[in-house]
Symmetry: C2
Subunit: 189 residues, 2 copies
């Protein structure tokens, strides 16, 4: 079940570096693409840095709306993640083509992707220079959600492989998020 996550914990969704799905909406159209180049930038209010290449349909919708969502997909969605990261939604609805279902977000027009395990609703902060030079967007997280079956004691804990988040390397080679290891704080000498 999708449950709200306190904003101060939102960074935990991306801290381990998963590949994300970026959704966008403007002027009656929506899109979904994959982005591996996304990372937290601050804790509270939570900010995220994400690269959205110039010329993409997503860039057009984000530029028009100033909003996006970042969703954390699962191993079960791997083929869809790679597909929506490889093709443009400008001429075809990728949601329908690849069987991804948009569900309404709470604070932004861009929809959430059903079946993901984490969701960040984001507003673009005005940084035109880094957008232009590096395709880099700084966004503020205004709402966060997590799938409660993979969230335990305030963090990710994946009970089954199909729900693990994923990490794209290159050319369709992904790694799943692997074994969970708790490391102890170093003892003071």
């Amino acid at each position: 079940m999708r449950v709200p996550l306190e904003l101060r914990r939102a960074y935990k969704l991306l801290n381990h570096g998963p590949t994300t799905l970026v959704t966008s909406a403007a002027q009656g159209r929506t899109n979904v693409m994959a982005a591996a180049w996304a990372m937290p930038l601050d804790f509270e209010p939570p900010k995220v840095a994400v690269v959205i290449a110039e010329g993409t349909f997503t860039r057009e919708l984000v530029d028009a709306s100033g909003e996006l969502t970042l969703c954390v997909p699962t191993r079960a969605q791997l083929e869809q993640v790679y597909a929506v990261g490889s093709e443009s939604g400008r001429d075809e609805d990728k949601w329908a083509r690849y069987g991804l279902k948009p569900v309404p977000a709470s604070r932004v027009q861009a929809p959430l992707v059903e079946g993901c395990v984490g969701w960040l609703e984001c507003r673009v902060l005005p940084e035109p220079e880094v957008q232009r030079k590096y395709d880099l967007f700084v966004v503020e997280v205004v709402a966060a959600w997590v799938e409660d079956s993979v969230w335990k004691d305030g963090g990710w804990d994946f009970p089954e492989d199909s729900l693990r988040s994923v990490h794209h390397m290159a050319g369709g080679v992904f790694f799943t998020t692997g074994e969970r290891v708790q490391v102890q704080k170093p003892r003071k000498g």
Copy 2:
């Protein structure tokens, strides 16, 4: 064995979102810290975005030198990664304290960390405004290295758990890089 990696492939070291070790050197002192907030920003020439908090000793050395390295540590180094990410090197040499060994880099003064499986030698690009506002550094990769026992057919392929890269979530909870999955390109309709 550490072998050179072509710069156009350097993004692959960080594309899957591992936690990194950042090294720095200036005025006869060096430091090593952990950074989970690092990601590729461009392919060629390769650029990386990395957050280096204001007030840290690393920030001081990077500001003074304009250089750093990003190293990809392994599961075998997890306690050291967490330790150097939790303490400052300003008053104590973290290399010696936590048994990490610096080895010379080729193009920058900052050293590489022995026992890691990937290494990026980087020069800071002048972006004072995002440095100030977000502690965000844009760096260009000027040399890249990989441990050849975990690199196969042009990408990561971890033969044993101790050599897997790692992903910090929060509070000392890490995930190892998990199962490798090759996804096929979507067929054109």
